[in-house]
């Protein structure tokens, strides 16, 4: 597949490519310079200030950062909560939505109807979503514990228990995000040549062999992409906790961005919130770079 890369290009052509490359990428660069640069610079500047948005900022150097790292128990607590959530949620979301996609990557009659049903949870948002889950997870009369009770299991307190609250939010996120992710994997699955599956058939392999030896390697770029994105999204988890638990009980759902939000918009400590944001940026960036390095070894790019 790989033959022509060794070819030495002439420099005028290379220059043309460079120029065209800049041209193609220019919408984003211009957009960034107009809409993105100023806010980013300002948020960094604010992170060095005491600032409440409505009045002038007071420069305090690295005071916010120092306080965060040395003297703020909620900072560490929220990092722990967020990491816990990320580590549990990311693989489950990927695996779950991939399996959903495999299930609907089918040509049986009425499949479009099923796909639509699978997709529906991902469009329920906001208050309706939280009202729904407060009901589902209610320990006394919620659907979950009612079903568990049928099997004689005494269900947990879910959102009311410090041990279960984060898992409850993971569960909710899985349910509500599965359909959207399914689409992404479905698009990728549709690209796998059926010939590859036929090979497995001939070798006498079952669906697991197909899944393991064809599906997973063939969609590995998409898995890789969404692992990276899902880690980023998990780190930014906010709405669920904000609407349903307000960070409780015992701060067990005080996620990083929730804490940041409290600082920014409840306390109007925009400087402190900006420092939190920049530390988050550094953390996610490091984790993403590590993922890129590791990913390079495992991902199969057909195009290369």
């Amino acid at each position: 597949m790989q033959k022509k890369t060794g070819r030495i290009r002439k420099s005028p052509q290379q220059r043309k490519q460079t120029l065209l490359g800049y041209l193609f990428v220019s919408p984003w660069v211009i957009g960034f310079l107009i809409f993105g640069l100023y806010p980013i610079i300002m948020s960094f500047y604010y992170s060095l200030c005491q600032y409440d948005v409505l009045r002038i900022p007071q420069f305090i150097g690295f005071g916010n950062y120092k306080e965060l790292l040395q003297n703020d128990p909620y900072f560490w607590k929220s990092i722990w909560n967020t990491l816990y959530y990320t580590v549990i949620r990311t693989p489950l979301v990927i695996l779950g939505s991939l399996l959903l996609a495999v299930l609907v990557n089918n040509t049986v009659k009425g499949i479009r109807f099923f796909r639509t049903i699978f997709f529906i949870p991902s469009i329920i948002t906001g208050v309706v979503l939280s009202a729904l889950w407060l009901w589902l997870l209610n320990p006394q009369y919620g659907l979950f514990n009612s079903i568990l009770a049928v099997f004689g299991i005494h269900g947990p307190l879910w959102l009311q228990s410090p041990n279960w609250s984060k898992l409850s939010i993971v569960l909710m996120s899985l349910w509500s995000i599965g359909g959207g992710r399914m689409l992404v994997f479905l698009a990728a699955l549709q690209g796998i040549p059926t010939a590859l599956y036929e090979v497995v058939d001939i070798d006498g392999g079952g669906w697991w062999a197909k899944f393991r030896h064809v599906t997973v390697p063939m969609v590995s770029p998409v898995i890789f992409l969404w692992t990276i994105l899902d880690v980023i999204f998990s780190f930014q988890v906010f709405t669920e906790a904000y609407v349903m638990t307000k960070g409780g009980p015992l701060n067990s759902t005080l996620f990083y961005n929730l804490y940041l939000y409290y600082k920014a918009f409840d306390d109007f400590s925009m400087g402190y919130a900006s420092a939190l944001a920049w530390l988050l940026l550094v953390m996610i960036l490091v984790i993403t770079l590590i993922q890129f390095l590791v990913g390079k070894k495992f991902v199969y790019y057909e195009g290369k």
């Binding site: 490519q17 460079t18 208050v127 690209g191």
Partner: protein, 278 residues
Amino acid sequence: MRLNFKTYRTTMTYLLLIAVSVVLILPFLWIISTSLKGSESIFAIPPQWIPKQIHWDNYAKVFTKMPFFIYMKNSIFISVMTILGTLISGSLVAYAFACMKWPGRDWLFVFMLGTMMLPMQVTMIPVFVLFKQFGWLNTFKPLIVPAFFGGGAFNIFLLRQFFLTIPKDLFEAARLDGCSEFRIYWEIVLPLAKPALATVAILTFMMTWNDFLGPLIYISDKLKGTLALGLAMFVGQYQTEWGVLMAASVLVMLPIIILFFLFQKYFIQGFMMSGIKG
């Protein structure tokens, strides 16, 4: 024997599909059922799936309590423009990142990803101040125009990763034939990328359609509101009319469901048709 196996397989598939559907659809049915309830039976235990008294007036109230069609018009306009901008500019940028070689490309890419990781809570205020300077407050511009400049790092990233899976030989051959970059992008890459573009389109649509914070801070005129904003009005601090809220949310979700049902073939079959793989 082979036929039997096939029937067995199909039956199993259906059983599985139905089982998963039930799990995923039950809560949605609850929303619909709640949208037809009056305040007396909403929180009844055990829940009434089919309300004793069906309150169609919840739906009527949605139309009297907010200018539904105006909001719908606004939501459609904003969503369509955003999708358009994202698809056009995002694919160009992604093409540059995935299919072309130029110095600084990888660094710029990492930088772009970095911008995605800064929580919007802290950039929201400076962005707002910026749009104020442009004189764009109380217009749709803050909600639409940025989409025409790449459509956000997330979408570019998505498209780039997809473009990476397109065999390089295709471009190389075209370039040797003297094809211009734009023609390669337009005539080779875009048609192949239909599923990815459709995915980006639907994700963008969902995001824009449900976006509540953007319209909230930029729009102050009652008639310029969007459906998501109107929906939030049904929630009160002490009093929430759950039936009406659920009715409104069903009405807001309906367009997405219909669109999805009608257009899913575009992003699901597109790739198979092209037959270029392998």
